[in-house]
Symmetry: C2
Subunit: 179 residues, 2 copies
DNA sequence: TAAAAATACTCCATAGGTATTTTAT
DNA sequence: ATAAAATACCTATGGAGTATTTTTA
């Protein structure tokens, strides 16, 4: 008996807009009984009839007339939230945390950081001290991505968001010799 | 791999506000691993890190800083939608559809309609023609509810929203001798 | 050492699908 | 007779819990 989900509102709005359960089902790419279910859940969970089934035609009644509007508003805000997140993941804004400490990295980092900063001015780059092992490999692959004009987000996705740099997630904050 | 639900946003906002997974879990009355899971899902599904786990302290980073605000906005709109629905179910606005046709009902309906209209001026009452059987009983119980100062919604809930009046849902529209 | 978060796993609710029946045009 | 929604039934995904391990302060 969960609360209505985002899908409930969206589905309901489609049913009203299209005037039909089955066409809404096609549009949403789910089955017709699925649409039936979601609408029924909205009604049952609130003890209100929202839709008038008159023959093959469905029409909103009472509270149902206002719901599609709310559905659109909800959808809008959710889209905004997701957009804000993907905007960050696209690398236009955000923070990159690099682990280093091995002096060898000094020879690799500077060009990488330069290309990062020119490509993504909004990036907040933080360099931290850590142990060497897996970090080096990550740094190198990051550099390759930069050279091939890929975005940071594709690197993140390739590795999964956590740990951002394997083995570096608990590094202590160190110095940034390249600022 | 469903979309994030309303709970994901709400949970995340709580975690940021309280600065802790476990206290957020207590507040939301779910388990700590449950909170962990939802946050991780938000991150994994978008390929972004939203939270900085620095020891026992959690802080929002990057996109995570904006999310609680969106969470509140989403919650607000959803609450508005639910409010709109319950406002209808409370009987202050809405439509009541009565099935009749049996002449016997003429003797019961008038006082009921009068009390309905005085108690809930916003109601849109529609009387339709139908067959007699179960309708009579429903009408009578509706009348009792009015007399005992209950709301229409409690009647709806008692029967379930559909059919509003058992057996009358496919009645043809008839006359309203009491307007 | 104590706390907090992450994992591992298990289970159950339920969302969603297929097949079928009912209903209305 | 046809098309659409409701119903019945089933399956599987995944959400949430308990128990445990890991980590850090």
């Amino acid at each position: 008996m969960g609360r209505p989900s985002l899908d409930h509102f969206q589905t309901f709005a489609h049913v009203i807009d299209l005037g039909s359960f089955s066409t809404a089902a096609q549009r949403l790419e789910i089955s017709q009984p699925g649409v039936s279910l979601q609408v029924r859940q909205l009604e049952r969970r609130h003890g209100i009839r929202l839709i008038e089934r008159v023959g093959r035609r469905v029409t909103a009644i009472a509270a149902g007339e206002e719901l599609p509007d709310y559905a659109r508003r909800i959808d809008g805000v959710v889209m905004d939230a997701l957009d804000a997140m993907t905007r960050h993941s696209k690398g236009t804004v955000g923070r990159v945390r690099l682990g280093t400490g091995a002096t060898a990295c000094i020879y690799f980092l500077p060009p990488i950081l330069r290309s990062l900063r020119s490509g993504f001015p909004g990036l907040d780059i933080v360099v931290t001290a850590g142990n060497t092992s897996a970090i080096l490999k990550s740094i190198l692959s990051l550099g390759k991505l930069c050279q091939s004009r890929n975005t940071v987000s594709s690197f993140e996705r390739a590795q999964g968001p956590r740990p951002f740099i394997p083995g570096a997630s608990q590094c202590e904050v160190g110095h940034d010799p390249f600022s």
